[in-house]
Amino acid sequence: MNDLRATMETDIVCVGFGPATGGFLTTLSRAMVDADGATRLESRVMPGMPLQVLCYERADDISFGVSGIVSKARSIRASFTPEQLAEIPMATPVRREEVLYLQDPIGASRRSAGVRALDAVVEALKGALPWADHAVLLPWIPPFLQKHDGMVFSVGQLNQWVGSQLMGSGLVQIWPGMPVREALLEDDRVIGVRLVDQGVDKHGAPTGAFMPGMDVHAALTVVGDGPVGPVGQQLNQRFGFPAGHHQREWAIGMKAVVELAPDCGLEAGDVLHTFGYPEPEIFGFLYVHPDRMASAGIFVPSWFDSPARTAYRYLQHWMTHPRLWRHLKGSTMHSWGAKTLQESGRRGEPWLTGDGYARIGEGSGSTNVLTGSGVDEAWATGVQLAEAVIELASAGKPFTKANLDATYVTRRRASWVEQEAKVAERARDGFNEGFLRGLIGMGVTGMTRGLINLPGRVRRVHERLPSMEQYFGDRIPAAEISEIRRHSQATGTPVHDALMDRSGWPRIAFDGTLLVSHQDALLMGGKVQAAAGFADHVTFLDTAACQSCGEQVCIDGCSGQAIMPGPDGVPQFDREKCIHCGVCMWNCSRPHAADPERGNVGFAAGSGGLHSPIN
């Protein structure tokens, strides 16, 4: 079959098109030719021509990013003029920023003694506080969290706009709908990438229409495939991490893009952050774009220890909190989506370079976990790598690890990205020991600029997730949990709804426009699709481990209901419903047989996903 495999030579191949690659290609393309079109950075594979630069993106369109963000946008502003920034759809300057502490108006939230004490203090003083609708408006936002001079973006629209500028230049090619399977290695040198095979069955076996993924050889492979990208994972597994580094902290961000009602009380540029509800560990956000569109969602972190964590139902409970419902009532869902966030920050930084490759963006550990900022940093790392490539290509130097370290890594270490990441490195450790400790820890870290941090033992997900009996034991008898589990297995449904119902959470009253069933969100929130002829990208590595797993968090955590109970106790995966959020990869409560830093779920390159341009 390999005889059919085609090979192509290029100068630079990029894996994934997101903000980091956008920053890289924007900066690089501007240096490739003179104003009169003469070549400045010459190709080695096509002498006389400019560098040949290709970018392969899994999603079917370059506009399918999944994030509504608020960002200081320092690096993005540095790349474009104000007039250009004004062209980006759904982008707007921050007008007003608020942080709200949400109390639990239902009584179902699982609150520690410390949080209950905080609630009691708020309740006692609410007459003197800016309190309304079971929420307190914080009178002051710590400087490290402020985005006052920033911008609200839809990352989908940002990507689309940037990609359009790039392709219009004619200097780089961005190919959507083409997942990269793996990096090609010769010893420890990356010599390019292999694209995924097509015309295969769900197990990857060739069918009659088999087309082996092409090998793209390149002097430099730029890895910007995000937190759960297959090439990034492959390099992590091949080369390991620098001493003391690991990727154990994650979050799933789930949100809807909604059209607000005319009387919603919000304006473009308004930014609301929330914490405290539906569970203390779950943070929320509401960012208002122009034309009464808003991104509204939550983050469910890996240190929220429920084994039946369902971001979707928690999202709906968050939306219907009285303080949020004040703004969201009457809204219509236009889009919905979820994405994994790599929350280890600088501590999750892998080796940034090697012979023939460099890593940028979220997968390279650029997200700042103290300021809650990732896109700005990702873009900046792309710019830094582009400047390094320009320097090396201009000097005719090869893309060796030494040369990339001397140019790219040196720039990154000297930049604000690194300085702020160092401050943030241990900012969230406290959350591993409890919500309040984490909150105080973040404050202390931020206010002392990283000099003082509250410690916490950062555990792997499989080390920290309790069993269902342990977690729900105070509310549901073990026998009933067993029955719920048995019923779930028999009916092929997740357990989370039954467990939450039984724990006191009210059922969501669907309104058909914003509050809809999970399946309807998949239908209304964009387009979930998977082209035919690709293998399953989610696999269960040790099926015996799955069969003995009492939690099967992969099912309850699945953002698209693509993983469901299987008939033999092994979860079954439906590729056509997967939105590629990657939450199954890090949520597994069973360790990988050979590598305890990994779980028992494989997440490889695959086609399809959730497609909505306004996410």
Binding site: A6, M8, Y56, D60, D61, I62, S63, F64, P89, M90, Q157, Q160, G163, S164, M167, G168, G170, Q173, I174, W175, P176, G177, M178, L195, Q198, G199, A209, M211, M214, V216, D291, H334, S335, F510, G512, V516, S517, D520, L523, M524, G526, K527, Q529, A531, A532, G533, H611, S612, P613, I614
Partner: protein, 269 residues
């Protein structure tokens, strides 16, 4: 047919049909809300025509495929990065609205004008392909009018299959009323064929094909002429997207027969 066909496919983009579409009144007439923000796909009927064209060209050496597309240049550029990986073709881009709210007479004039300017096109070998309908406007008249402007009198609408005989005769399977087919024979080009769904699956993305197409894509986009679409051709009395009925009911333990009856009643309206 040693010299092969010159196949010109007329087809452009439509907003992705699974996105939320909302008609609004624009300064020059009806438009779709946030149209430029919506992801675009190749009009499905035009897609069938393009894939059939590529299939036919591959079987007949010496053939060549052009895709003549009228759409906003920036959106065409984005769309082409997906389409160009599917099959080999040379793009002829025309800059203009593809909203579906344009006058098909003007669209046909723009397309025919662009086809006439293709320098290497041999009109005696011309097969004019397009969709028999459009996802943005189901008028189904554009291919006919382009054909008329190009002087093509042999026209076939809603075709599902074209076979080429050893003597070059084309046998065309056309959909007609009542689920029946009309089988026609034509001695050869030039002729116009507006495709229904055809029989071919969507080809996989092939990066080599993409690279091959890229050689002509960007130059074509860069020199795309602005189409003269005056928006004066007609008046839209009302505009609405096809209705998508969604009724969600949560019920438990309903017998299958009852569910089937419910669905049948719902379909009947």
């Amino acid at each position: 047919m040693s010299t092969g066909f010159h196949i010109v496919v007329c087809g452009s983009l439509v907003p992705d049909l699974l996105q939320t579409l909302e008609p609004v009144a624009g300064p020059t007439g009806p438009a779709l809300k946030n149209e430029m923000m919506l992801p675009a796909v190749l009009d499905p009927w035009a897609g069938h025509a393009l894939f059939e064209a590529a299939h036919l060209a591959a079987k007949h050496p010496g053939s060549k495929v052009w895709l003549v597309s009228l759409g906003p240049k920036a959106k065409l550029q984005q769309l082409m990065m997906s389409i160009a990986q599917k099959v080999p073709f040379e793009l002829v881009a025309i800059d203009g609205s593809a909203s579906g709210f344009t006058d098909p007479v003007e669209v046909a004039a723009a397309l025919a004008g662009a086809i006439e300017k293709i320098p290497t096109l041999d009109r005696s070998r011309l097969l004019l392909f397009g969709g028999c309908a459009s996802a943005s406007r189901d008028a189904g008249v554009t291919v006919q009018m382009v054909g008329e402007r190009l002087g093509i009198t042999d026209q076939f609408l809603a075709a599902d299959e074209v076979k080429v005989g050893a003597d070059g005769t084309l046998t065309v399977l056309e959909r007609v009323e009542g689920g029946q087919y009309l089988v026609s024979e034509v001695v050869g080009p030039p002729c116009a064929i507006a495709w229904a769904t055809g029989n071919l699956p969507e080809p996989p993305n092939n990066p080599q094909v993409g690279m091959q197409n890229m050689r002509t894509l960007m130059p074509s986009l860069q020199k795309a002429q602005l189409a003269a679409l005056s928006a004066q051709g007609g008046t839209f009395v009302s505009v609405e997207v096809p209705k998508q009925e969604r009724k969600t009911r949560i019920v438990k333990d309903v017998p299958l027969d009852e569910m089937a009856r419910d669905i049948a009643e719902w379909i009947k309206g």
